[in-house]
Structure formats: structure tokens, C-alpha cells
């Protein structure tokens, strides 16, 4: 957008901008969000009226009680009656506002009678969803390609608000979220659902929603959680109960099928292609797609001693994290043996690294524990 056009919008086209983006809370799709929406509208009306009143009185004084118009200053400097009135009146207005506000708070806190419980865990920088009643769970990562963010590729319509695995829920059912976090505080926010709840490491919190109609509802992490705080969106895919049941059945079947046979021996090509995907989901934020890292903050993998040298050391740092640089977490906790084997194989055979070495899932299984006490 040219500077000229921006200036144009800036100076005279609030309506034009309003057309392009939203200027109010997003359209609610749950009862909670509707309550919040209406409450905000009420508050806006009351505070707006107060502001206009204050402005009108002030403007009148500014226009009429000026020295340049020859207005003589009065000398009053107190009036007990008036002062009591303008202390009590706001108090009454606030009391009137407190009533619906209290009811809304109590409604938000009423997490009872759920049909379905989903555990939400915040990670730096992705979400994990566990359907605790059905024994399935998955990570949900940002799906927007890094190239779109850096500007070398076009930005998709749902730029930064798209994930590889959305949270699928049934409509018309009360969904209860149990929230916690793995590392730092995150906050799970989907505006259209009217839910925002911090996910706190070591603690359990809950929230709930019942979605009216099927659709994709998007949100973002809203508590600063480090480098990629802006890149861990939330997508809720609400489906009719019948569609949800279908999805759940398919998902369970896929989960059973995808359970990797730990004894299977993989080829270099298989591991490399799987590793590339694991890398792009988990490692690319710091080590970059080029494997060059960010000098001073995140080390390069391309040509690094770890990724080209001793295999055991490489496995150990991926499994257990780095003691020197706390930004490198212990992936052993988050990823399966197969995924770790794949990503290490990928790192040892990507960019300028050509070790030709293959790391098998069995090696990871053996390494788990062995290196951890160190």
C-alpha cells in the first residue's frame, strides 16, 4: 500500500478503514460471547454518553467563557450540593453496571455439566489438545509457511490464523477445557467463543463453551510467551455432532494405524522426508529453514559440530535440551522416538551436511534415560 493511500485513509476515511477491518468485537457464536458482546455494547453506550456530556459542558465553557469574548470570571469555588450529586451519581451508574457484570462473571465461571472435556496444553510455541475421554491427542502448529512471513511468498487469506491440526469440537455440546502449560504462561483466546484463559505451568485451569453453529473460529495466544508468541494461533473447527462422531472415529483409527512399530528399520529417504516435516513444525522457528540459525541467539545447524560430529551427542541434546541455552527444550518429552530419529537424520543430511548417517528409532529408545541423568 502506498504512503499516499495510507495518508488518505488516515485523514478522511475512517469509514473506508472500518469497511476493511472490524471495529467491534467479533460476531459471537456462543452464549458467553453474546453476553460479553451485549455487556460491552451497554458499557460503550453508558461511557460514551458520559464522555459526550463531559465534552459538551467543556466545549460550551471553552466557547463562551473566554477572556477574548470579554467574559468576566465568576468567583465561586465550591458548592457542596453539586459535589455530593456528582459523587453519588457516578456511584449509582456504577452500581447499575455492576449487576449485569456480576451475572456475566458467574456465568463464565460455571463450568459444570460438560459433555466433553479437552485438555489444552500450551507449549513454546504451539498448542496440544488431548481428548481425555477418547484417548487421542495431537499438537497444533502454525500452518502459515515461513516464506509467507518473511515475504518471499504470497500471504494466504488466513495468514497467521491457520493451523495444521485444528481443535475439532461438536456444536451444541458443552465443551470443557482443562488448561495447563508446559513451560511459561500462555493464554488461550478465541474471540468468537468468548473464551480467554491463561494456561499456567504446573497449575490447572478450566473454561467452557457451547458453540451454536458449525464453522472455523480463529484465535491466538494472548499472553507474551517468548519469541514466537505471535505465531501460535488457535483454530476451532466446530462440526455437527454427527460429523464430529465421524471425525472422532476416523481419528481414532488413524491414531491406531500411525502408531509406529518401534522395531521397524527405516531408510534414509523415509526418515529424511518425515524429519523435514518435524523440523518445520518444531525447529524452524529458531534454527531457521536454512539451518543457519540466528547469530548470537540460536546456533546454526548447517555445518555445526553437533549436527556433523558425534551422533550420540546430537541425540542427547535433542532429547534432553541444552544446559547452556535454555531456549533449546528437551524434545524427548514432546516428540516420539520416530520423530526424533527422523529429525536428527534430517539435520545430519540437509543443507551442507552430508554425513549419510541414519538414526533409527531404536537408537533413540536406547538413548532415552541413558543420557538423562547426566
Amino acid at each position: 500500500m502506498s504512503l499516499g493511500r495510507v495518508l488518505g485513509i488516515t485523514l478522511l476515511a475512517w469509514p473506508a478503514a472500518a469497511r476493511a477491518g472490524e471495529i467491534n468485537l467479533q460476531t459471537p457464536v456462543t452464549a458467553l460471547a453474546r453476553v460479553e458482546y451485549d455487556l460491552h455494547t451497554t458499557l460503550l453506550a453508558i461511557t460514551g454518553a458520559i464522555f459526550l456530556l463531559v465534552l459538551a459542558v467543556m466545549l460550551y465553557a471553552i466557547l463562551r467563557h473566554r477572556k477574548s469574548l470579554g467574559h468576566q470570571a465568576a468567583h465561586f469555588h465550591e458548592n457542596t450540593a453539586v459535589e455530593i450529586i456528582w459523587t453519588l451519581l457516578p456511584l449509582l451508574i456504577l452500581l447499575a453496571m455492576a449487576w449485569p457484570a456480576t451475572r456475566a462473571v458467574l456465568a463464565q465461571k460455571s463450568t459444570r455439566g460438560e459433555d466433553l472435556t479437552i485438555k489444552v496444553t500450551g507449549y513454546q510455541w504451539k498448542w496440544r489438545y488431548d481428548y481425555v475421554d477418547d484417548n487421542i491427542g495431537f499438537m497444533s502448529h502454525l500452518a502459515t509457511p515461513r516464506e509467507a512471513i518473511s515475504g518471499t511468498a504470497a500471504k494466504p487469506a488466513n495468514y497467521l490464523l491457520e493451523v495444521d491440526e485444528p481443535l475439532v469440537v461438536p456444536t451444541g455440546r458443552k465443551v470443557r477445557l482443562l488448561l495447563t502449560a508446559n513451560d511459561v504462561i500462555h493464554s488461550w483466546w478465541v474471540p468468537q467463543l468468548g473464551v480467554k484463559q491463561d494456561a499456567i505451568p504446573g497449575f490447572l485451569r478450566d473454561a467452557w463453551f457451547t458453540i451454536d453453529k458449525p464453522g472455523l473460529y480463529r484465535g491466538q495466544c494472548s499472553e507474551l510467551c517468548g519469541k514466537d508468541h505471535g505465531f501460535m494461533p488457535i483454530v476451532v473447527d466446530a462440526r455437527s455432532p454427527a460429523d464430529y462422531a465421524l471425525w472422532l472415529a476416523a481419528r481414532k483409527k488413524a491414531a491406531a494405524a500411525a502408531a509406529d512399530d518401534p522395531a521397524r528399520v527405516w531408510t534414509l529417504a523415509e526418515l529424511k522426508s518425515r524429519g523435514e516435516r518435524v523440523y518445520s513444525q518444531n525447529c524452524v522457528a529458531c534454527h531457521q529453514a536454512t539451518g543457519k540459525g540466528i547469530p548470537g541467539a540460536f546456533p546454526a545447524l548447517d555445518g555445526s559440530p553437533v549436527a556433523t560430529g558425534d551422533k550420540a551427542a546430537h541425540i542427547a541434546i535433542v532429547l534432553n535440551g541444552s544446559k547452556r541455552n535454555t531456549a533449546m527444550p528437551a524434545w524427548g518429552k514432546q516428540l516420539s522416538d520416530t520423530d526424533i530419529a527422523a529429525v536428527i537424520t534430517y539435520e545430519r543430511n540437509a543443507w551442507g551436511n552430508h554425513t549419510g548417517q541414519v538414526v533409527q528409532p531404536a537408537e533413540i529408545k536406547a538413548a532415552r534415560g541413558a543420557g538423562q541423568g547426566a
Binding site: V6, T10, A17, A20, G21, E22, L25, A33, E36, L39, H40, L43, T47, L55, M58, A61, I62, H65, R66, Q72, A73, H75, H77, E78, N79, E83, T87, P90, L94, A98, A101, A104, V105, A107, I149, S150, G151, K155, L160, D183, V184, I185, W189, K196, Q197, D198, I200, G202, F203, R205, Q220, C221, S222, E223, L224, G226, K227, H229, F231, G296
Partner: protein, 543 residues
């Protein structure tokens, strides 16, 4: 504190020291006040440059100039520098300069401690700035430094914590000086319930600082020991609690908001009567309102934590308490308007900034009422709505009042008149672009844009571009101010003793520019409410 320091306080029997020594070893309240004001202006420009970096990155979606980690460092340092480097020292500087003149004191009570309070600040600022170039960069956990994120950072975080310790110490020493000066050094006749509102505001602010800056120092020390000495205050794995950090931080943090707002109330309460040529309406209720805001500010901290998942009862308590604070704040606004009502107003630059302050602060206050409603805060917490809200309170509140104060007292401080034409241009320019920058942020927040993100979804583009343009223009406008000040210092027309015919407090009864050693002998005063001088006798000054 050595006895010699006390002896210094009432000095003034030798001439003005010269050269660098005058500033390095400054004990004169006017010199120290000037140091504070220049320092805070430099910090304001540094923090402003960081803000412009943020707005440049946010001009369009995608990452253009800065990587996310650096962006987070910018938002963090922008906040810390503006709060602890710009606003707080500026008010301390203003109090240093004007309080002794307004209450008829010879100087601040502890002149040498005053020197230390100031000279602690530049090293602290240097620590903050230098943290950008250490490995890992500056602190990137937001100015709130929430644990456990703040336990993850590199040594930039340690430097920040150390800088906060130093700046905290500085502001505590400055506050002790302000309290002792106001309580013990008022000239005969200047009683507490007659003294200027600016003195009252400074006094209450100083008490707030003494009450909460040590708490901040404590909580960042806990982060430091969690980081390096194996404690687990905020680490759940060791039996700690990350929410505890937030409770302690906001126990400091909410009074801190009023530390940045009360002196602004004081300044506006001096400027409005002077240009309305009418006494301040409801002086006593202003004093009570200011005090009750001070007390209430200790009971509302957890409204910053509505989405941490506290029990409903706690949410409701903090919601009610927060709504309650709107009452004394409203009283103040009504009192200012009643002061303007039936006045004989003229609109020189200080008055413009004061009126602009009332207008914008009211918007910030009302959006604060909206945020106080916990159920609505669920949608707005951590969004750009909050960014809009606190910039309306802090830029329009603290910054505009500081501009009002500087324009108002500039003739008395320097003996010269500033350019009224440039002053008015500065006001209208700032008012316009301030609103262009921050008003759209309300929309962004409502529409769902989280704060502290370096990149955003496409539907937020237009308002971000408007805000970025506004920010750069607003920033540019501050150069008008700098130019006006620098030029007027050298070439401004000589100021008369009383440049504002409606100004009637004590500082306007001494020669212009203010003599280097004013009131070496206390005057005998008869004053009316808000420090209006009815009769003055005695009071000797020396150059």
C-alpha cells in the same frame, strides 16, 4: 545521611558553581530539577525511537525489519524506559524545580541526597541500553517481566533487574526528599490544607513510591534468585507459583499507574485556574479524591489478572473495587470543568495541553471502566484495546500534563518566553496524531488483535498502518517541542515576572528567572486554598 548533608541544604551563601562541576556536584534544586528534566527528555526520545521501531515493523503484515526476539526486546524496553526513565524522573524533576518555589522552601531538604538520586539514573539507563548488545540481547519478557518467562532470558534480564534496583533506589530517595521538604520546609502561613494541589499530588505520589518501589525491588530480586541461585519462588516444580509473581508485581504495578497520574492531576490543577482566572473548584474534595485514589490503588491490583483463573469471588471483589476508583477520578474531572465554567479563559499552550489532558484522560478513564468489568475484560485483556487504554492514560495523562507544566513554568525557569506559535503548533499536532495513533488501537483490540506481537493477520492491516503513520507524525511533532525549547532558551524574548495574569501562586511572586538561591530567608505568607498568595512579606533571594 551525614550531618554535613543537612548543613548543605540551607546553603546559598556563595555564587553559582561553574562548568561541569555545577552539574556533577549539583545540590541546588533548580540544577537538579533541570538535570532530571533533560535526562527524562533524552529517555523519552530513546523510548520513542523504540516505539517507532515497533510501529515500523507493524506497518504491514509479515516480518520486515526485526526478528520477533528483537521486537519483544523493543516492546519491553520501550515500556521500561518510558515508565522508569521518562515519566517518573520527569515528575521528580518538576517537583524538584517547582516545589521549593511553590511552598517557600530554600531548597530540597537533603541537597546531597538529591544529587545522588539523580546521578543514579544515568548508570541505570546505560545498563538498560547496553543490554541490547550483550549475548541474547535485552530483556524480552514485556515490561511486566512475568515469571517464568523472565527466568528464561539471557544476561540482559539481569542487567534490567539491576537497572530496576538502581532506579527504584533513586526514586525512593527522591520521594523521601519530597516528603520531608513538603512536611518540614513550608514557609510560615503555607498550611497543608492551603498548599498548591501540585504539592499535594507530589506528596501522595512520594508516599506511594516509598510503599511500592521496594515491593518491585523485592519481586525482581526473587526473579534474580530463581534465575541464578536455585530458588523456586515462581517455579511450580519447586513448589512455587507463577501467579504469585503477578500478585506481587501488580501490588506494585497498580499504584505505579497512579504514581504516573497523580502528579499530572496536580499540574492540571495549577494550570486550569491560572488560565480560567478563577479559583480551583472544590480544593478540599480534590485533596480527598487524590488521597482516596492513592489508598484505593492498593486494593485493585488483581484486575490485571482477570484471566489467570481466579475464583469468582475474587474477580467480583477486584471488579467492584476498580469500578469504585472511577468515582474519585470522576470528581476530579468534574472539578476541573467546574473551574473552567464561568471563567475568563484564554488558551495559551499550557492551557491547551491541560484541556487536551482532561479530554483524553477522560477517554482513557472510561475505557478503564469498560476494562474493569471482568466479564468484558475476558475479551479485551492482552489485546490492543489495553494498549490504547493505557496510552490514553499515560501519554495523554502524564505526557500532556508534563508539556503543560514545562510551557507553564518555562518563563520562570529560564527568564525567557517560548514561542507561543510553535507551542500551539506542537499541541495541535500532538493532539491530532496522538489520536490517529492510538484511537484505532481500540478497534484492533476489539477485533481480536493480541498485544506484543511482531506480525498480525491480514484483517488488522489498515488500522495498523494508520497507527504507524500517526506514530511517526507524533514523533516528528516532538521535534517541534525540542526546537522551540532550544531556540527559546537562547533567543526567547525576556519574560516578565508574571507572564500569566491569572497565575497567583508563590512561584510567580519571585523575580524572573528564579534566583539561583530563592527564599534563603523564609517569607511570611497568607495564602488561600491551592496556594494562592494573598499577602507576602520578607523572603530573601540570592543569585
Amino acid at each position: 545521611m551525614a550531618m554535613t548533608d543537612i548543613a548543605q541544604a540551607g546553603h546559598g551563601h556563595h555564587g553559582k558553581p561553574q562548568g561541569l562541576a555545577r552539574w556533577l556536584f549539583a545540590t541546588n534544586h533548580k540544577d537538579i530539577g533541570s538535570l532530571y528534566l533533560w535526562f527524562s527528555f533524552c529517555m523519552f526520545l530513546s523510548g520513542g525511537v523504540l516505539a517507532l521501531c515497533i510501529r515500523a515493523e507493524l506497518f504491514r503484515p509479515g516480518l520486515q525489519f526485526f526478528q520477533p526476539e528483537l521486537f519483544n526486546q523493543f516492546t519491553t524496553l520501550h515500556g521500561l524506559i518510558m515508565v522508569f526513565g521518562a515519566i517518573m524522573p520527569a515528575f521528580t524533576g518538576m517537583a524538584n524545580w517547582m516545589l521549593p518555589l511553590m511552598i517557600g522552601a530554600p531548597d530540597m531538604a537533603f541537597a546531597r541526597m538529591n544529587n545522588w538520586s539523580f546521578w543514579l539514573l544515568p548508570p541505570a539507563a546505560a545498563l538498560l541500553m547496553l543490554s541490547f548488545i550483550v549475548p541474547g540481547g535485552a530483556a524480552a519478557a514485556g515490561w511486566t517481566l512475568y515469571a517464568p518467562l523472565s527466568t528464561q532470558m539471557g544476561m540482559g534480564m539481569d542487567m534490567t533487574i539491576f537497572a530496576i534496583h538502581i532506579m527504584g533506589l533513586s526514586s525512593i530517595m527522591g520521594s523521601i526528599n519530597i516528603i520531608v521538604t513538603i512536611l518540614n520546609l513550608r514557609a510560615p502561613g503555607m498550611s497543608l490544607m492551603k498548599m498548591p494541589m501540585f504539592a499535594w499530588a507530589s506528596l501522595i505520589t512520594a508516599f506511594l513510591i516509598i510503599a511500592v518501589m521496594p515491593v518491585l525491588a523485592g519481586v525482581v530480586t526473587m526473579v534474580l534468585t530463581d534465575r541464578h541461585f536455585g530458588t523456586h519462588f515462581f517455579n511450580a516444580a519447586g513448589g512455587g507459583d507463577p501467579i504469585l509473581y503477578q500478585h506481587i508485581f501488580w501490588f506494585f504495578g497498580h499504584p505505579e499507574v497512579y504514581i504516573m497520574a497523580l502528579p499530572a492531576f496536580g499540574i492540571v490543577s495549577q494550570v486550569i485556574p491560572a488560565f480560567a482566572r478563577k479559583p480551583l473548584f472544590g480544593y478540599a474534595s480534590m485533596v480527598y479524591a487524590t488521597s482516596s485514589i492513592g489508598v484505593l490503588s492498593f486494593m485493585v491490583w488483581a484486575h490485571h489478572m482477570f484471566v489467570t483463573g481466579m475464583p469468582a469471588a475474587a474477580q467480583l471483589f477486584f471488579m467492584y473495587a476498580t469500578m469504585l476508583i472511577a468515582v474519585p477520578t470522576g470528581v476530579k474531572v468534574f472539578n476541573w470543568i467546574a473551574t473552567m465554567w464561568e471563567g475568563s479563559m484564554s488558551f495559551e499552550t499550557p492551557m491547551l495541553f491541560a484541556v487536551g489532558f482532561i479530554l483524553l484522560f477522560t477517554i482513557g478513564g472510561l475505557s478503564g471502566v469498560t476494562l474493569s468489568v471482568a466479564a468484558v475484560d475476558v475479551q479485551l485483556h492482552g489485546s490492543y484495546y489495553v494498549v490504547a487504554h493505557f496510552h490514553y492514560v499515560l501519554v495523554a495523562g502524564a505526557l500532556f500534563s508534563l508539556f503543560a507544566a514545562i510551557y507553564y513554568w518555562f518563563p520562570k525557569m529560564t527568564g525567557r518566553l517560548y514561542s507561543e506559535r510553535l507551542g500551539k503548533l506542537h499541541f495541535w499536532w500532538s493532539l491530532l496524531w496522538f489520536n490517529v495513533t492510538f484511537f484505532p488501537m481500540h478497534f484492533l483490540g476489539l477485533a481480536g488483535m493480541p498485544r506484543r506481537i511482531p506480525d498480525y493477520a491480514l484483517q488488522f492491516t489498515e488500522f495498523n498502518q494508520i497507527a504507524s503513520v500517526g506514530a511517526f507524525m507524533f514523533g516528528l511533532g516532538q521535534l517541534i517541542f525540542l526546537f522551540n525549547m532550544l531556540r527559546s532558551l537562547r533567543h526567547g524574548a525576556p519574560a516578565p515576572q508574571l507572564p500569566w495574569d491569572g497565575a497567583n501562586t508563590l512561584e510567580w511572586r519571585i523575580p524572573t528567572p528564579a534566583p539561583y538561591h530563592s527564599f534563603v530567608e523564609a517569607p511570611q505568607l497568607e495564602v488561600k486554598e491551592n496556594g494562592v498568595v494573598v499577602r507576602l512579606s520578607g523572603g530573601r533571594h540570592e543569585e
